[in-house]
Structure formats: structure tokens, C-alpha cells
């Protein structure tokens, strides 16, 4: 930093001895230090060796004139501001202008006026100070910025490890997410479930930058961590909500949409809190349904008040769900108009082929905003309903299991009313089973078997709902509302799991027996038990039969036992 109050070193370059002496006297009298030169070349040399702060330069000098000397001095000075005042007796305005063109900052005409020279030196010294302050601040900002960029890079690297893309590369997903969107507070997560199917979550945190991005990390950690253990969408959302509520400041929360895709039952469950309506597009009829937000965003209320209002839809192959943050709706064109939902609806209305819809939306928004370069803020995802088989290359990969662990064991677990109403027992059971060394690769199959047996026991046993209800769209919705009502009013219900495992030479047998409090369904009354079974229980039982060595009903049909045989 420059100390403006300290002595100033002034270079006086003039080939006229008398003029030089006069200037020397005036400048020294003002308390400044003086360095003198008799021609342009000497002025440049002296400047280099003495580094004066201000230069007084005669225009017409031998060896090198003032213009050239000024250019060289400015070049040597570089970024430092060294004010150059030309001394001249010229009155020609063009010549005076040339002084400034050559890099001069001012000029002074002979004869020299002491008062004016003093004032000029003071003013230029002040300017030097300001210039130095400015440069210092500029350098500070550059350093800070470099730090910030570095910090963001580190944060981004950590973030990418935690909030990795999961299965966003699956063949039924198309998405837009700018690499730096994480610092816009946007997050997009997707994972396969142990039972097949898929979870997708799009979140938009309030605010921008690091404060917004920071909440995405625990969110991703919970999402992936719980999904792989087989937790339900409701459990995952509640856990994320409470975590965000606990750790984020009051004013930061996350508008989000989570979807649970079941490719075997051909249905989706959608939870939406605070994001714009998402669209469900029917590939066959080209109709689309807008699904509105029914919940508060995540991280606003404690779990005691948290509502998990889900919307369930039956799907057919090729139907698609579109989820987006408000980036599309609020994308502005040059006239500061917003893209808005109406334009989006129009794109859907005019859609010819479902496969092109995603790109049509993208192009429509990009075209709308034109050259305003805001397309980076747009986060959007399309998920397509497909067959489970179609996605087998993105199936969950489980970490390899330990080599020692329990192989010969049995456990019983009974769930009663309150538990049946509120809890999902499957993650715990899966966890116990997965302790068996070598069984981990079969986690998906085992989870599917458990899940199917449990939902059959609960829905067709304990609360005794008939699955035929689901055969029409209206019945489908009714089925799920009845399910919630009957569960709420449940009394004296139970589901008992009896699990046992026996090792074999290269694998083992896992016996799962599930008993429920329902009346059973008289399976022995039918002539063709297998056919009637399938008609009665839908796709679930057929699926289990495919996965297991054997499946049999016991008692009144309220007990089912399967033998899952596995080999390494």
C-alpha cells in the first residue's frame, strides 16, 4: 500500500539547466525528493534505477524526446501508476494532445507556477494512492475468488461422491442437470430398489450457492442408504424431512418430488411438495395428467406434522412422468417474460411421438430464452414405464459380503396392530437375512419374496381386500383408499414371520413362513389350485413361484411357506 503522506520521489527531466534548477528548487521546497536527468535516455535510465513516483518530462530533449521517454517509462512501470506531467512551452493544441496520447497524464506550460505545480503533485499523489488501493483490492478479490473456486471444486468433488448419479443412466431415464446446478441448489437422484423398480427424487433447495448445496448431501446419503436397505418411499421421505429440519436454518428448505416406480405392478406413487405440477403422459392416448403439489416442502415441519400424501397411478408401458424444478417455468427471454406453464402445456398438446417429447420441451425452452444463456438452470427428468427386464443392466450392485456369519438359524417375528399400521418390517428382516455369508447377491430376489408375501398377508389376509378390485382404474384408486381406511381401523390383526436358514455345500435354503390373522382363502376348494391361485392373488404369487424352489399354503390358506434355494 502507498503511504500518501510520506515523501514523494520526483524525476525531473529537462535539457535546459536553468529550468531544471528552478523545478528542483520548487519541488524540494515542498518536501519531496528529486532525481534529475538531462535528456530522454537518461530519464529512462534514472527511472529504472531510482523508481521515482512522479515524472516531470520536458517534451523536446536530445537523444530521446519526451514522447518516447514517456512510452518507455509507462512500459517499465507496468501496472503501477506513475503519473507523467509534460513540461512544455508549446501552445499548439495538437502537440499538447500528443503529450497525453504518448501516455502523459497532464502537462504544464512554462513559465512554471509554483502553486499550480504543488497542487498537481498533490493531486497525482492522491491518485497514485487510490490506484494502489484499487489494485490491492483487485488482487485480494482475485485471491478470494481463486479460493472460492477451489473450495467449490473440492465441495463439488465431495458432493459428487455422495450425491452420485445413481441409476440416472438407466435406459428409461432422460434428464437435464447442469454440472454446476448443485450450486443452484438442484439435486437429482435415482436408484433401483432391491425388489426391482426404481426411486427418483428431484429436489430444489431455497437460495443459491453453498448454503443451498449443503443440504443435498445428507439428502443423497439418506436416499441411497435407505433405498438399498429396502425402505419404503414414505420412510425415506420422513427421514430426509426430519434430517433437513434438524440441520438446516429455518429459511432453507427443499421443494421436492419423489416417485416410486413399480415395473412389475405397473404403477407409480408420487409425492410432491412445493415443486410445480409434474405431468404424466399417456403414450397410447396422448393425454396428460397434471399432478399437483399436496405437501409442504421437505425440511419445513417436524415429522409429527409431516404429511406424506402420495398419489398413486396405474401405468402402461411407455407412459412417462415428467418432473422439473421451477427453472423451466421461470426461464426468461430477452424481454424478461417467463416461459410459464402454458407454453409447457402447449408442447404436450402438440406432441406427436412420446419419444420426442423430452427433446421438444428442451428445444422449446431453449428457443424461448434465446441468447440469455440461462438454460443451465433447468433441471428436468423424464422416467418411462418399462418392463423390469429392460433395466437388468442397472440392477442394484451389492457390496460383497463377509466370509463368516450365521448360516444355521431361525427367527420369529410377529407384527401387531400398531406396527402394521405404521411400520415397514422388511428392511429389518432383509438385514437379518443378509448376514448370511454369500447371500448378498440374492438380496433383490429375497426382498421381492418378502415384499410380495408381506403385502399379500397384509392386504389379502389381515384386511381382506380382493385384488380383482384393481382391474379398473376407478377400482384401482378405490383399492388404495380402502387399504388406508381398513388399516387405520385395524383391530387384533397380526402378521407372523418365521424365517430359518440351513446351509448347504455351496449355498443354502431359506425358508420363509408367513402367517396372517385373515380368514384364509380356501385354496383347497379349487380344482386347479395353481390357476385359481394366480387369478386370486395376481402377479405376486406367480413371481414368488418363479423365484422359489417351492411354495405351499397351509391351514386355511392364511399360512404360506416358501423355500428359497440358493447356490454361490
Amino acid at each position: 500500500m502507498i503511504d500518501e503522506s510520506g515523501p514523494v520521489k520526483v524525476l525531473i527531466a529537462d535539457d535546459n539547466d536553468a529550468d531544471r534548477m528552478i523545478l528542483n528548487a520548487i519541488v524540494q521546497k515542498q518536501g519531496h525528493l528529486v532525481v534529475m536527468a538531462r535528456d530522454g535516455a537518461e530519464a529512462v535510465d534514472k527511472f529504472e534505477s531510482e523508481r521515482p513516483h512522479i515524472v516531470l518530462l520536458d517534451v523536446l530533449m536530445p537523444k530521446m524526446d519526451g514522447y518516447e521517454a514517456a512510452r518507455r517509462i509507462k512500459e517499465i512501470a507496468g501496472e503501477e501508476l506513475v503519473p507523467i506531467i509534460f513540461l512544455t512551452s508549446i501552445k499548439d493544441v495538437h502537440a499538447l494532445a500528443e503529450c497525453l496520447d504518448a501516455g502523459g497524464d497532464d502537462f504544464m506550460s512554462k513559465p512554471y507556477n509554483r502553486v499550480i505545480l504543488e497542487a498537481k503533485l498533490k493531486a497525482f499523489n492522491r491518485m497514485r494512492g487510490m490506484h494502489a488501493t484499487l489494485q490491492h483490492q483487485r488482487d485480494q478479490i482475485a485471491i478470494h475468488n481463486e479460493h472460492l473456486v477451489h473450495e467449490q471444486e473440492v465441495a463439488k468433488a465431495v458432493f459428487d461422491n455422495v450425491a452420485h448419479l445413481g441409476c440416472l443412466n438407466a435406459k428409461n431415464i432422460k434428464y437435464l442437470l447442469s454440472p454446476l446446478a448443485v450450486f443452484n441448489g438442484d439435486v437429482l437422484l435415482a436408484t433401483r430398489k432391491p425388489s426391482g423398480g426404481m426411486y427418483v427424487l428431484l429436489g430444489d433447495f431455497t437460495g443459491h450457492g453453498l448454503p443451498a448445496a449443503i443440504g443435498a448431501m445428507p439428502m443423497a446419503e439418506i436416499f441411497y442408504g435407505m433405498a438399498i436397505k429396502g425402505f419404503s418411499m414414505r420412510d425415506i421421505l420422513r427421514e430426509i424431512n426430519q434430517k433437513l429440519k434438524n440441520i438446516l436454518p429455518v429459511s432453507v428448505f427443499c421443494c421436492a418430488c419423489m416417485v416410486d416406480m413399480d415395473f412389475r405392478k405397473n404403477m407409480i406413487k408420487v409425492w410432491l411438495g412445493g415443486l410445480p405440477d409434474c405431468f404424466l403422459y399417456r403414450a397410447e392416448s396422448k393425454e396428460f395428467i397434471s399432478i399437483g403439489s399436496r405437501n409442504l416442502p421437505l425440511g419445513v415441519l417436524d415429522n409429527d406434522f409431516f404429511k406424506d400424501d402420495m398419489q398413486i397411478f396405474e401405468m402402461t408401458a411407455n407412459d412417462r412422468l415428467y418432473i422439473w424444478s421451477d427453472g423451466i417455468h421461470e426461464a426468461c427471454n430477452v424481454n424478461q417474460e417467463m416461459y410459464g406453464e402454458e407454453r409447457l402445456v402447449e408442447v404436450f398438446r402438440q406432441a406427436e411421438k412420446a419419444d420426442d417429447l423430452f427433446d421438444s420441451i428442451k428445444n422449446s425452452v431453449t428457443e424461448f430464452i434465446g441468447n440469455t444463456e440461462r438454460s443451465d438452470d433447468i433441471t428436468m427428468v423424464e422416467v418411462k414405464m418399462v418392463e423390469e427386464e429392460y433395466l437388468k443392466d442397472t440392477a442394484l450392485i451389492f457390496p460383497s459380503s463377509k466370509s463368516d456369519g450365521p448360516t444355521d438359524w431361525a427367527v420369529s417375528y410377529e407384527l401387531r396392530d400398531d406396527t402394521l399400521k405404521t411400520c415397514n418390517p422388511l428392511p429389518l428382516l432383509l438385514h437379518i437375512i443378509m448376514e448370511v455369508p454369500g447371500l448378498h447377491p440374492f438380496s433383490g430376489e429375497v426382498y421381492t419374496i418378502l415384499a410380495e408375501l408381506y403385502s399379500n398377508a397384509l392386504e389379502h389376509g389381515v384386511i381382506n381386500l380382493k385384488s380383482e378390485m384393481k382391474s379398473t382404474p376407478l377400482g384401482f384408486a378405490k383399492y388404495y383408499s380402502e387399504r388406508s381406511r381398513l388399516l387405520r381401523e385395524l383391530k387384533n390383526g397380526f402378521v407372523r414371520f418365521h424365517l430359518s436358514h440351513k446351509p448347504s455345500v455351496d449355498g443354502g435354503n431359506l425358508i420363509i413362513r408367513v402367517e396372517d390373522s385373515g380368514p384364509g382363502f380356501g385354496y383347497d376348494k379349487f380344482d386347479n389350485p395353481e390357476k385359481s391361485l394366480n387369478a386370486y392373488c395376481g402377479r405376486g404369487i406367480a413371481l414368488i413361484q418363479e423365484l422359489c424352489k417351492s411354495l405351499q399354503f397351509v391351514g386355511a390358506g392364511n399360512i404360506v411357506e416358501v423355500d428359497f434355494e440358493w447356490k454361490q
Binding site: D204, P276, G292, L296
Partner: protein, 101 residues
């Protein structure tokens, strides 16, 4: 000034007026208009008659006010919203937290 507040005669109610865009740029103004009040109002009224736009950080600021006013026990009314403003509040289901009129 785009945000100002006016306590009722008995000091029981504080009305906050927001003019123009309600976004992060006014967060300091918004906070000081309910933090620098002598009385401790029991009710807050946010008058959005002149509010043209509301973004997600404004929703965050509303939550801060709610927290300041006693969280779940707070009484906050939001009135005179334009359709655009109302839509943003509804998408976020803020009617569960505030009385939106």
C-alpha cells in the same frame, strides 16, 4: 423503501407491507421490520397488495418470521395476494402454515 411495517394502536397486531419484488435482496429490510418493534405483537398481517413477485427465498423469509412469531403457535395472515403470488404460496402448500386470504 419497499418494505415497511405498521403496528396497530394497541400494539397487538403488526402489518407488514411489501412493495415490488419480494426476494433475497430485501431480506435485511424484511427482518428489521419485525425485529425492531417495541411491542411483542400477537398477530402479524402481511399485506401483499403491492407485491409483484415472490421467489423461494421469500418463502424462506416467511418461515423466519413464523419462527420469530412462535413457530406452530404463531398467527400470521397473508392478504391481498395477486394470482401469481398466490400460486407460488399454494404450490408450496403454505396455506398449512399461514392464513392466506
Amino acid at each position: 423503501m419497499s418494505i415497511w411495517s405498521q403496528p396497530s394502536m394497541d400494539g397487538q397486531e403488526l402489518t407488514i407491507n411489501i412493495k415490488g419484488r419480494f426476494d433475497f435482496s430485501v431480506h435485511q429490510e424484511f427482518r428489521s421490520c419485525y425485529e425492531n418493534v417495541d411491542d411483542d405483537p400477537r398477530e402479524y398481517v402481511i399485506d401483499m397488495k403491492d407485491t409483484t413477485y415472490l421467489d423461494s427465498s421469500a418463502l424462506g423469509m416467511l418461515l423466519l418470521l413464523r419462527d420469530h412469531a412462535g413457530g406452530d403457535k404463531s398467527h400470521i395472515k397473508i392478504k391481498n395476494c395477486s394470482n401469481d403470488v398466490k400460486k407460488i404460496l399454494t404450490i408450496s402448500n403454505f396455506e398449512q402454515l399461514f392464513a392466506i386470504q
